[in-house]
Amino acid sequence: MKKIPDSTEKKLIDCIFKYREALSHKKYLSVPEREADRQSLNDLYETLSSLKQKVLDSKCYLQFGEIQKEQTARLLADETTPEQRTEMLAYVLRCLCHPVVHFHGRSSINNYPERKEMALEEAEPEFTSFSEANRPQTLCTFKTRPISYEELEASREKLRQFIKKETSPQSWSSLSINEAEILSQLAADGQAKIPIEVHDSAPSNYPVAIVLKES
């Protein structure tokens, strides 16, 4: 049979639940109301007899502390605009971030791979560790050479002219990987239009193109 709590315990439990509910629903409790509850809890102290009642009494004070913290934070936040609070939250996140390290794509086209054949004698020692039976006569390796700014600009201009002339993306399959990369960058910078095919019902006099622009 379930034991019915005595009046002191009931008051303490009611108080705990009242504050716990207010906290979870972010309900505002006025200062006079909280002060009255604190006063009645203070009066109840004289009647506490068992350990259980003392534990419940401590839990009541814990809930008072929690709600006080919450309402002080709300009071302080009420004085700020949504923009300021967004900024404050963004700052907290920024201060706790350990970002991953990565390299941006732009640097990936600064070197053009250049296929170079070399005789076995010229090869570096690590390439010569073949067995006698399958030793090749020549070795192929990729060497890279740096690309100048002028060269990159010339490639961009060449591509701008190319897409003006060849308006259908189907004819762009002749582009190399590096040229396609530069074209993507031009499109991302809003410097190149990428035409797209639209539904047959669209008016043919109006070509449709995508221009990407970072705002």
């Binding site: 609070r85 967004t86 350990h98």
Partner: protein, 177 residues
């Protein structure tokens, strides 16, 4: 050996888009084993050596599990701002706040409508801004969309430790209401 370490560093600091359009951070163990043509023990030795070398630069090697595979990545040892903007940071903080309240935050999903309601009706962001922010966070690999809503992508779990996420959750509850 030096050249292999250099290549390994570059491989682990890449990010690329996978077939499912999710952003991959670093490289999976299987891909590294295939590319370097070495066994697991030798890879482990190389990774230990790389770890020791990059520690001087304030970087650390991170291991994480993604789709049942072991992945490696490199992150900064110190706290510093990442590439997302203020609104994106705040929205990510709200998402973290909502997910951390759930039972299994790492795999849980939170409804976009719930986040939208909080931020748009609270006049923190306009509807257009909110949609754009969510798209950017997804594009940059911080969140991924699921059937029920959004959940953490590996990048958020790598860049924000468990303690950091708990702290962000507390702050978001205090500041956004």
């Amino acid at each position: 050996m030096e050249e292999t370490l250099q290549e390994l560093f570059l491989a682990l600091s890449t990010r690329w888009r996978q077939k499912d359009d999710n952003l991959a951070i670093g490289m999976s163990q299987n891909k590294l084993l295939q590319a370097l043509e070495i066994d697991k023990n030798n890879l482990e030795k190389l990774l230990q050596e790389l770890k020791a070398k990059i520690a001087f630069l304030g970087l650390e090697l991170v291991e994480y599990l993604y789709k049942g595979e072991l992945w490696y990545s490199i992150r900064a040892n110190y706290c510093c701002p990442s590439e997302i903007k203020k609104e994106e940071e705040a929205t990510l903080a709200i998402i973290i706040g909502s997910l951390e309240k759930m039972k299994n935050p790492n795999s849980a999903e939170v409804s976009i409508q719930q986040i939208k309601k909080k931020l748009v009706s609270g006049k923190y962001l306009s509807e257009y801004q909110f949609d754009r922010v969510i798209k950017n966070l997804e594009y940059l690999g911080y969140i991924k969309k699921g059937r029920k809503g959004v959940s953490y992508s590996p990048r958020t779990l790598i860049e924000f430790s468990e303690e950091a996420r708990k702290h962000i959750a507390q702050e978001s509850q205090k500041l956004i209401f």
